[in-house]
């Protein structure tokens, strides 16, 4: 800006009229361009939000249309009537898969989180010789693609007589989830003071009671992160669900695929089914999300 070297004129400074309100106005330090930059920022953000929400918009409106209205050329158009019929027709096809998925994802998330908490506790607060070798080995599990172990996994489940039912699927998800849950809890427990564990020991608690009574109650945020993560990945899994279970125990992802499959894709039904299938994960995020954020920040900010 043009700040010249000449001494400023004495009187005419643009002070707002010193009325009774003026005294209470907050004094803000801000750039001269603040007004424009803020507007520009919001316009940009709004445009990006619209872009990211486009698929959701299409999903929502298509789910309310009937078959006659569904066509790629009229994709963006608003439905003629808001009809819930599609949901009614699609729900019976999803129902069983939905129930199976709940019966599988909830235990899988809880068990793998609990075991991950135990792992993380032992690896960070109750160190044993060789812990530094065991931890990277556990982490290594994260990098094994599903496809690589699909056939041996099916064979192993078959040998364990767990093939076909949900228990085998739960076991698969628990084991596959352990690396990430172990990592989550180990990082979390590392940020917790060692003196707390020492205090519990002196107070008379052994390893298991220190874990259950002292460490686990503190780890609620980590538990939330872990449960959200595990529930989402177990719920969204398609491959294990298809390969390890029989049609009676197919999870919702497989049922969803069957809705969308066939000669003609009934887009409105597929969209409605997808929307229904995504509700549980959304609920988990909404219910546990505030712990999720806190849990992610906990390690970084130290309490």
């Amino acid at each position: 800006m043009t700040t010249t070297a000449t001494p400023p004129p004495p009187a005419p400074v643009a002070v707002p009229a010193a009325g009774p309100d003026a005294a209470h106005l907050p004094v803000r330090i801000r750039s001269r361009w603040a007004g424009y930059t803020t507007t520009a920022r919001y316009i940009t953000l709004f445009a990006l939000v619209c872009m990211f929400l486009l698929p959701v918009y299409v999903l929502l409106i298509t789910a309310f249309k009937d078959l006659a209205q569904v066509s790629p050329s009229r994709m963006w158009e608003w439905p003629d009537s808001l009809s819930l019929d599609t949901y009614r027709t699609v729900w019976p096809k999803l129902q069983d898969g939905f129930r199976n998925s709940l019966a599988m994802a909830i235990p899988a998330a809880l068990i793998s989180s609990f075991l991950g908490a135990a792992n993380g506790f032992v690896l960070s607060k109750w160190r044993f010789p060789g812990a530094d070798i065991v931890f990277p080995l556990i982490l290594f599990g994260m990098f094994i693609p599903y496809q690589a172990i699909l056939i041996p996994m099916r064979q192993a489940m078959s040998d364990l007589h767990l093939l076909g039912g949900l228990n085998g699927l739960i076991l698969a998800h628990v084991i596959y989830g352990l690396p990430i849950t172990t990592l989550i809890f180990r990082s979390y427990f590392t940020s917790i003071s060692d003196e707390l564990i020492d205090a519990a020991q002196v107070d008379g608690a052994g390893m298991i009671r220190t874990f259950l009574f002292v460490a686990l109650p503190i780890a609620v945020p980590a538990f939330a992160v872990s449960v959200i993560w595990q529930f989402t990945s177990a719920w969204n899994d398609f491959l294990f669900g298809l390969v390890l279970t029989n049609p009676d125990h197919w999870p919702v992802t497989v049922a969803l695929n069957n809705v969308a499959g066939g000669q003609v894709v009934p887009y409105h039904e597929a969209m409605a089914a997808a929307l229904l299938a995504s509700i549980p994960t959304l609920l988990v995020y909404i219910l546990m999300g505030r712990f999720f954020m806190r849990g992610l920040m906990a390690g970084a900010l130290k309490g």
Binding site: A199, V202, D203, V214
Partner: protein
């Protein structure tokens, strides 16, 4: 002065029945205990120490001297590399912490954040499967003694620092253990509260009579609290004695420099025949000094309180020019230079936790600097020469090589101090 709200109510209930230890106090004995950490660092070297039943012992030393490690080994949180630890008559060297029947107060308090104060206090009893009625009675009793009744349902996060400290203390007391272990429990409090808590701790120990091992880096805290004080340096036990005897008869330069505030003044000096001299001052050796008749260089130590203004009792006098006068109300510290080489050994540096040239900027000349405590009576001005009389019976001599004390040992020490 208004009483700080955090001061516990111990004093207000003089007649109240206090949670007295139900069991006979036990002593703690360390026999040649050594701790070697992975990587070869020896944190504690061959420490032998015997704490009598019911005694309050303070472990003191500069940071990194191994005092906390000693405490953690007594608690069982750290394994010993060599040596034995006994509590009472039992050898607990290989026992788990939960089987040693000790209670510990941590520097960070280590309160269980998801439990109420009541459950924090009762946790140790719960873990030991104490009956619920008994547990409640003891928690209530301790809460009463420490003035925590109204806080019992709160979580630690909702307490002030002083309140947390009392809960940490209560958690140890309620267990009625054989030994209390305290790891700098007052260091997180502000200065005023620390002083008042110090007195409360002393009082509490008198009432409970439980053997206590107290770790601190603050020699004032150690001297005021400990019935006996163990001074550690680099993992080696230097001296273990009562506060008075530590002060009067330090075994070496380190203990002499570490104990006392302001610390002892040191100067390079020379003993010839029956006198010691530095910067042109000649002081006769005390009668019966083993140094008499020798001719050698020594480090001379003088407590700041060994001086009086003017000339008294025919004591030798020093002519000095005060450089700094610190007024403290009813006394003053007078700081002046002495025309003699400054003593800067490993021992004196360790005692003040200083690195080699830390204060070189402030002390550009390589001359000894003395601090003297005087009454406020005769006014003293900076730059105006004064004469100070020095009590010749209160001199300390140290070997410049080894740092060991020469001259009066406790047995020979004259009683005139």
């Amino acid at each position: 002065m208004p009483v700080p709200p955090d001061v516990p109510a111990v004093t207000t209930a003089p007649g109240a029945t206090v949670a007295a230890a139900t069991q006979e106090p036990s002593g703690v004995e360390l026999v040649n205990v050594t701790k070697r950490f992975k990587g070869g660092v020896e944190a504690v070297k061959d420490v032998s120490l015997s704490v009598r039943p019911g005694e309050f012992v303070a472990l003191v030393g500069p940071s990194g001297c191994g005092k906390s490690t000693v405490l953690r080994m007594i608690a069982g949180l750290e394994e010993v590399s060599a040596g034995r630890i006994r509590i009472g008559v039992r050898d607990v060297t290989t026992d788990l912490p939960q089987h040693r029947d000790v209670a510990m107060v941590f520097q960070s308090y280590a309160l269980y954040p998801r439990m109420s104060v009541r459950r924090n206090l009762g946790f140790g009893l719960r873990m030991r499967r104490t009956e619920k009625a008994e547990r409640n009675r003891r928690v209530a009793e301790v809460a009463d003694v420490l003035g925590l009744e109204h806080l019992l349902e709160r979580r630690p996060g909702a307490l002030s620092g002083g309140q947390r400290q009392r809960v940490a203390m209560g958690r140890a007391i309620v267990r009625e253990p054989r030994v209390f272990l305290m790891d700098e429990p007052l260091s997180n409090l502000d200065a005023k509260l620390r002083v008042s808590m110090r007195a409360q701790l002393s009082l509490l120990h008198k009432r409970l009579g439980v053997t206590t091992v107290y770790v601190t880096h603050d020699q004032v805290e150690a001297m005021t609290l400990g019935q006996r004080v163990a001074v550690l340096r680099d993992g080696v036990l230097q001296q273990f004695d009562t506060p008075q005897r530590l002060f009067r008869y330090p075994v070496n330069l380190f203990v002499a420099a570490f104990i006392g505030s302001p610390s002892m003044n040191f100067v390079q000096a020379r003993v010839t025949d029956s006198s010691v001299s530095f910067s042109g001052t000649r002081i006769p050796l005390p009668a019966g000094s083993p140094l008499a008749g020798t001719d050698r260089s020594v480090i001379l130590g003088v407590r700041p309180t060994a001086f009086t203004a003017g000339s008294a009792n025919g004591w030798p006098t020093l002519q000095v020019v005060p450089e700094v006068v610190e007024e403290l109300g009813d006394e003053r510290y007078v700081i002046f230079d002495v025309d003699a080489p400054r003593v800067d050994t490993e021992e004196t540096r360790a005692a003040v936790d200083a690195e080699a040239a830390d204060d070189a900027l402030l002390l550009p000349e390589d001359r000894a600097r003395f601090t003297v405590r005087l009454p406020t009576d005769p006014p003293i001005d900076v730059g105006q020469p004064v004469s100070l009389a020095l009590n010749p019976n209160r001199l300390y001599f140290f070997d410049p090589e080894s740092g060991a004390t020469l001259g009066p040992t406790p047995e020979q020490g004259s009683g005139e101090q």
